[in-house]
Every structure is written in structure tokens, then in C-alpha cells.
């Protein structure tokens, strides 16, 4: 980082963790993280376009290698959905789980891009103020995903059990449907209802964000001298390998929770 030699550690990390923003209104809320939106949309279009391209040429005979690869992913997601959900999963749940898995995996995989080279590319080549390439390290993305899943969960609860059934479930379970217990039940369910999207989104966000920070700290260490460079490279490589696991694992966990939440909405207590 010869161009940033005058920078302090704080400004180095801040620079890496600044979103490329674009204001569309007066208040801070009307801001768009251009980097997050562009990268995630690009990945989504490429990923799902690829799937659509493979699938539109799918044969029921002997599949080619490309189709077999996609079928592996399908089979993987479908197996998880089959194990948890006992309705017609092909209509909605399994494809939704596939969407979550593929998209989150691709967005997480942006973490594989080396942070400093990307920073140099975006600021010195494209002359952008800042750019964060990992959409899932932006809490807006993970909250967006978990809130959509949360809304789907409520939607299916209402569709399957009816408004009455859902309300009854909110106030009548898990302690019993005695009127005196209604407030307790409701409080209990409220906590569960609120904690679901929070834990769902913060788990992914925390993992990816922390992963980025660890890379940045190792990068800073590498800038301190010869031994720092040696250990920085060594630990950086180790962390990168470990990160391959985290990227896939977090995508898998996010998909599993999506399946579990929506499947639970289909089952009455």
C-alpha cells in the first residue's frame, strides 16, 4: 500500500469499511449503498441467469457435466427441504431455499477477493471514494434477507392456519389458552418473533464483517515490518483457508434457518 503510507491504522480500516453511498433524499435514511446493491444484483443476475441457462437446456436423459453440477446443488437443497418440510416443497419452499443458498454463497464468496488489491482497484483505477465488495458484510443486505423470510413466515402462518389460528397461536401457546396466560404467551411469542430475524441476519452479518476485519488487521500487521509481514502472510493464508469454510457454512446455515422458519410456519402447535 505505497499510496497509503501516511495513513493511520484507524483511517486504513475506516477506508476499507466505508460504503460507496448515494443520497436520494434529505435524511440519512434516503441513502443507497451503491456498492452493495451493484455487487449483489450483479451476482444475482449472473448466478440465477446461469441456473436458468442450464435448466432451460435440461434433459431427462443422461445429464451433461454442467447440468449434473446444477443438479447436485438442487439435490443438496432439496434434501434439506425434504428432511424438514412435509408439504409440497417444490411449489415454493425448496426453490426459495435454493435462491437463498446460491445468492448468499455468491455474496459471501466476494470475501475471497483480496481486500487491499480490491481497494486499490476501486479507488485508484475506478476512482471511487470507497467500495465494499462483500454485500453480506453490509447489515442492510442480511436484514433485507431475514425480513423477507420473516414476512414469508408470517404470510404462510396466516395462510395455513388462518388469522384466527395465527392469533390463537400467538396468545394461546406455549403455556396454555387460559385467558390469564394470554399476556405471558404473547410476550413469549413476541420475543421469539423479534429474535428470529435478528439472530438470522446478525449471525451472517457478524461472521462476514468479522472476517473482513480480521483480514484488515492482518494486513495492517503485515505493514509493520519484516516479521509482521511474515506472520501476516502466514496467518492471512490460514484465515483465508478457514474463511472458505465460513463462507459456505454461513450460506448453508442461512438457508437451513430459512427452511426451518418457513416450515415451522406451516405446522400448528
Amino acid at each position: 500500500m505505497t499510496t497509503e503510507q501516511g495513513l493511520s491504522p484507524t483511517s486504513y480500516i475506516n477506508h476499507h469499511l466505508t460504503q460507496l453511498t448515494h443520497s436520494v433524499g434529505d435524511s440519512p435514511f434516503w441513502t443507497l449503498h451503491v456498492d452493495t446493491v451493484v455487487v449483489s444484483l450483479l451476482l444475482g443476475v449472473v448466478g440465477f441467469g446461469f441456473l436458468r441457462w442450464v435448466v432451460s437446456g435440461a434433459t431427462s436423459g443422461v445429464p451433461g457435466k454442467r447440468q449434473a453440477f446444477v443438479e447436485l446443488a438442487f439435490e443438496f437443497v432439496d434434501r434439506e427441504a425434504r428432511g424438514i418440510f412435509h408439504g409440497d416443497r417444490h411449489r415454493f419452499l425448496a426453490p426459495t431455499a435454493l435462491t437463498v443458498f446460491v445468492w448468499v454463497l455468491l455474496m459471501n464468496a466476494m470475501d475471497f477477493l483480496p481486500v487491499d488489491i480490491m481497494a486499490w482497484f476501486f479507488t485508484d483505477v475506478l476512482h471511487l471514494r470507497a467500495f465494499r465488495a462483500v454485500p453480506t458484510a453490509d447489515i442492510n443486505t442480511t436484514f433485507a434477507l431475514s425480513l423477507v423470510v420473516w414476512l414469508l413466515m408470517i404470510y404462510f402462518s396466516v395462510v395455513v392456519k388462518g388469522w384466527g389460528g395465527w392469533v390463537h397461536e400467538l396468545i394461546g401457546t406455549p403455556f396454555g389458552s387460559h385467558p390469564l396466560l394470554w399476556p405471558v404467551n404473547f410476550l413469549f411469542n413476541l420475543v421469539e418473533l423479534v429474535s428470529k430475524p435478528l439472530s438470522h441476519s446478525l449471525r451472517l452479518y457478524g461472521n462476514m464483517y468479522a472476517g473482513e476485519i480480521v483480514f484488515l488487521l492482518l494486513g495492517m500487521w503485515a505493514a509493520t515490518g519484516l516479521s509482521g509481514a511474515f506472520f501476516g502472510v502466514l496467518l492471512g493464508a490460514g484465515w483465508a483457508v478457514f474463511h472458505i469454510l465460513i463462507v459456505v457454512l454461513q450460506a448453508f446455515i442461512f438457508m437451513m434457518l430459512t427452511i426451518v422458519y418457513i416450515a415451522m410456519a406451516h405446522e400448528s402447535h
Binding site: 436520494v24 433524499g25 440519512p28 435514511f29 434516503w30 441513502t31 443507497l32 449503498h33 452493495t36 446493491v37 449483489s40 444484483l41 444475482g44 440465477f48 441456473l51 436458468r52 442450464v54 435448466v55 432451460s56 435440461a58 434433459t59 431427462s60 436423459g61 445429464p63 446444477v70 443438479e71 438442487f74 432439496d78 417444490h90 411449489r91 415454493f92 425448496a94 426453490p95 426459495t96 435454493l98 435462491t99 445468492w103 454485500p135 453490509d138 447489515i139 442492510n140 443486505t141 436484514f143 433485507a144 434477507l145 425480513l147 423477507v148
Partner: protein, 156 residues
Amino acid sequence: MNINLTLFSQALAFAIFIWFTVRFVWPPLIKAIEERQKQIAEGLAAADAGRKSLDTVAQQVAEIEKEARKKSFEIIEMHENRAKQIIADARDEAHAKAERIIAQANEEAQHEAARARETLRVEVGNLVVQGVEKILRREIDPKTHVDILNQLRKEL
């Protein structure tokens, strides 16, 4: 960590991607996979049926083979019997013929012998008569004794 409009744009994008996958990605491939599962199941069933019919045919073949072997043995036995019969018949016929020939020959020989004996007798008679004639010419008149001579000739 600030929540802003990005949240909603991401949620919208997510919803669109879900819709796209549910509508355009999942159904064609799951259809192809299920079709293939059906084909494989049918193929396995067909293989099973084929194996079963093969067993049946093999059993039938074995039965036919047994039958054929039995029949061929029967035919061979029949023909052997017939050959024996023919040989026996031929032997009998030959026997009969030989006996006939021998009998005929015997008869002929006896006949011949009788004839020879007759001839011999006549000749010997004549010879004796001639001899006796020669002896008796001087003493016996042949004309008077012709009946005696003739009788004698007959008795010889």
C-alpha cells in the same frame, strides 16, 4: 452499521430472485429429474420383467430339451427293435430257404439214386439174363422160358 434505503432495495431484489427461481429455475429441472427417476424406475422394472421371462423361457427350453431327448431315445429304440426284427426275419427266411433247398436236393438225390438203382437193376438183370442165357443157350429154349426170365428180371 446504518439501516437505510439499501435494506429495501435488497429486499426487493431478494423477492424478485425468489420469484425468478420459483417460476423459472426450479420447475424445469425438477421436471427433468423426476422424469429421469421415472425412466430409471421403468427401466429397472423392465429389466426385472425381462429376467423373469428369461427364467420362464429357460424352463420351457429345458422341458422341450427333455422331451426331445426322450423322443429321440424312443425313436432310436424303435429303430433298433425294427432292425433286430428285420435281421431275425431274414435269418428265419434264410433258414427256411436253406431247408427247402436241402430238402429239394435230398429229394432229387433220392430220386436220382432210385433211378440209378432202377437202371442198375435192369442192367444187372439184363447182364444176369445174358449171362444166364449164354450159359443156358445150350440147354434152355429162351422161347419156352421167357416168362421165367422175365420174372427173374423183375425180381432183381
